[in-house]
């Protein structure tokens, strides 16, 4: 039976919630009539709701613990999605289907939908880039948006001042961001955990403030407008055509990113990142150059952000510092954490959920941040490894003498 102690705890929680929400949920001042409405029914709903929720949560936890202890010595059952990912028979058709859907998307849906999907795919790339830094190498970077801004402003400014085209700036934007990543990373990466998080957070804000206040350089808060969309051999394009074109560019970038990130993760370098995340001292004792390995992860992540930044500027044809607030970093980080640290499929799913859901549930978009917070807290409590947790690659050895690495990708 459900222990009485827990019932008491839930009652306390509901009381506490009722108390906390009292000022906003119960009191309502009518400034015209100059009277106060006391909405006691609201208080009742909140108390009752939080009571039920906390009991449900506890029941869930108890069951989870029971299940965990039951199969302690047994190997945990693999989630369906991982079994699919492991079996080429299922994986390849699935990948082909996803890709076909991606390619035919602009034909199946309206320009408006295509535009939203383009945004979502850009976040997929951003998420995968940050995933290298946070998910794989374990460096909590809260200023990722700074590199995104560097990419966007590279295109805006190089185009404004030197009339450079999209394709020329695309690699330059990535490289500039990566370069900045190295410059910042060198002094900062010796910090650990929370300290690194705070410094990168500050760095993100510094970049934004510089862009906002250095008028001569970046045109300040008013931003830079009339950035050209990417050209296609000088062809004139309709508005809708332009959007479809950018969609395909981003789609190709997504495919490239998945390919590259997957290969990186399953390499000598990727292993070193994972090991670094698990135990720094052991890592160094095994001959891994901590600084160098971290720096590579940090600047690779930055490179991707810079890349997407250029695309962002080209897509919106307008950049200003307001697009690069901490909120943006928080969203990208949520994608990685929600999706599953270190898992490529997880990050893709996470990005699609977090970006598409608010777009389609317009009613929810006002409570977007609230929903983010709630989702993250719930995830951390019930599934800290994310929607799709990363599985280590397994190896098969035939016979006893000839090892043969079997590669699951």
């Amino acid at each position: 039976m459900f222990p009485v102690k827990e019932l008491k705890r839930s009652a306390l929680i509901s009381l506490w919630f009722a108390f906390l929400t009292f000022p906003i949920m119960v009191i309502k001042v009518d400034p015209i009539e100059r009277i106060v409405h006391w909405r006691w029914d609201n208080m009742f709903f909140i108390a009752f709701g939080s009571f039920v929720l906390s009991i449900l949560a506890k029941v869930f936890m108890i069951q989870k613990e029971r299940r965990a202890s039951r199969k302690k010595r047994k190997i945990a059952a693999e989630p369906l999605i991982q079994r699919i990912a492991r079996e080429p028979r299922f994986l390849y058709p699935l990948v082909v289907a996803c890709f076909a859907f991606g390619v035919s998307f602009p034909f199946l849906f309206s320009t408006y939908q295509t535009n939203i999907m383009t945004t979502a795919l850009m976040y997929v790339v951003l998420g995968l880039g940050l995933n290298i830094v946070v998910g794989v190498a374990g460096l909590l970077d809260l200023g990722y948006v700074a590199f995104y801004a560097v990419g966007a402003y590279s295109y805006a400014l190089l185009n404004l001042n030197f009339d450079m085209g999209f394709w020329a700036v695309l690699p330059i934007g990535g490289l500039l961001a990566a370069f900045l990543g190295v410059i910042l990373g060198f002094p900062v990466l010796r910090l650990r955990g929370d300290y690194l998080a705070i410094v990168t957070l500050g760095f993100g804000e510094i970049i934004r403030l510089v862009l906002e206040n250095w008028n001569a350089f970046s045109q300040g808060p008013s931003g830079i407008a009339n950035i050209p969309r990417p050209g296609f051999f000088g062809m004139e394009m309709t508005f809708a055509g332009g959007i479809t074109y950018i969609y395909y560019i981003v789609l190709v970038l997504v495919v490239i990113t998945i390919f590259v990130v997957n290969r990186l993760q399953n390499s000598r370098l990727g292993r070193a990142w994972l090991a670094l995340r698990e135990d720094e001292i052991a890592c160094q004792a095994m001959g891994i150059d901590k600084t160098k390995t971290k720096l590579i992860a940090f600047s690779l992540g930055a490179f991707w952000a810079g890349f997407v930044g250029v695309l962002f500027a080209a897509k919106t044809t307008f950049v200003n510092p307001a697009s690069f607030t901490f909120l943006e970093s928080a969203i990208i980080l949520s994608i990685v954490v929600l999706g599953g640290m270190g898992s490529i499929i997880g990050v893709i799913v996470g990005a699609l959920i977090l970006i598409l859901l608010p777009e389609y549930l317009r009613a929810l978009s006002e409570y977007r941040m609230l929903a983010f917070g709630a989702i993250l807290v719930i995830m951390m409590v019930f599934k800290p490894e994310g929607i799709i947790s990363n599985v280590r690659r397994s190896y098969k050895f035939k016979g006893t003498n000839t090892p043969e690495g079997e590669i699951h990708e």
């Binding site: 590259v260 290969r263 990186l264 390499s267 000598r268 370098l269 990727g270 292993r271 070193a272 994972l274 090991a275 698990e278 135990d279 001292i281 052991a282 890592c283 160094q284 004792a285 095994m286 001959g287 891994i288 150059d289 901590k290 590579i296 690779l300 280590r392 397994s394 190896y395 050895f397 006893t400 090892p403 690495g405």
Partner: protein
């Protein structure tokens, strides 16, 4: 043994933590092919000594010189980073096991191969021929090492799921993967049952026979006495004795350190 070249030479090593003299002016030397034990009561400074050798702590004073018997090159280790020291050819295990817990057994050993291989971003992305060959060699070598330490049946198991004794053996395997000529083992038999300890003794002998020299910290006196060529004894950060097992066993200072004032017991 006495005519083989000296591979590790420590002179006047000291390490202070504020007022605590964790190591106080200790000399030590190891010759090629030896198994040397470092013993002493808890808190004597043995682990701190290892941390100074491997670059995790910066010594307060003293000199550490490591000479590679394979090419005769000798290097002063003071101020070198831990990964550089491993690269030169000295690897270690940890008293409080420090594996990569969620990585597989095989991957733990593969990490050890890191400093002997070199593919980076370009190789990882293009997966060119050199990288593929290197990766295959990493896997092959790691598997061989796992066979040596008897863990080849658990290659895909997460390291944290191994038994205590198996984790200690995996740490040895991981250290071996870096191709050290000198291997430092910090209490390798701690927490092992007699049968596991016996297997460990055989493993250490085998490793030594393959040409690795060994410096080991251990509390199991039977193991120390059977394995070691020479023993160094520390107490309160100072070296109080050194010599063959027989000499050390009969040394009054050692008996006193281990049994307190009650020398007759």
């Amino acid at each position: 043994m006495s005519d083989s070249p000296t591979i590790l030479e420590v002179e006047g090593l000291s390490k202070y933590f504020g007022g605590i003299k964790a190591i106080d002016n200790v000399d030590l030397d190891i010759r090629q092919g030896e198994i040397v034990a470092l013993i002493g009561p808890n808190g004597a400074g043995k682990t701190t000594f290892f941390n100074c050798l491997t670059g995790i702590y910066k010594p307060t004073a003293g000199d550490i010189k490591l000479s590679d018997p394979r090419n005769g090159k000798s290097t002063r280790l003071n101020g070198k980073k831990p990964n550089k020291i491993t690269e030169i050819g000295m690897a270690r295990t940890f008293q409080n096991i420090r594996l990569f817990p969620t990585m597989s057994v095989l991957e733990n050993v593969m990490i050890g191969r890191h400093c002997r291989t070199k593919s980076l971003i370009f190789g990882a992305i293009t997966r060119n021929k050199a990288t593929r060959i290197e990766e295959a060699q990493i896997i092959e070598r790691s598997y061989e090492i796992l066979k040596k330490v008897g863990l080849h049946r658990q290659v895909n198991e997460q390291a944290r799921n191994l038994s205590y004794g198996a984790q200690r053996r995996l740490e040895i395997g991981r250290a071996l993967a870096t191709e050290p000529f000198l291997l430092l083992l910090d209490e390798p038999a701690a927490g092992m049952n007699p049968k596991e300890t016996e297997a460990l003794v055989a493993l250490i002998r085998e490793i030594c026979a393959e040409g690795h020299s060994i410096l080991l910290i251990e509390h199991d006196m039977k193991l120390v006495m059977t394995l070691s060529d020479r023993i160094f004894v520390m107490d309160y950060g100072k070296k109080i004795a050194q010599g063959t097992p027989v000499e050390v066993r009969e040394n009054p200072a050692v008996i006193k350190a281990y049994l307190g004032e009650d020398v007759d017991a």
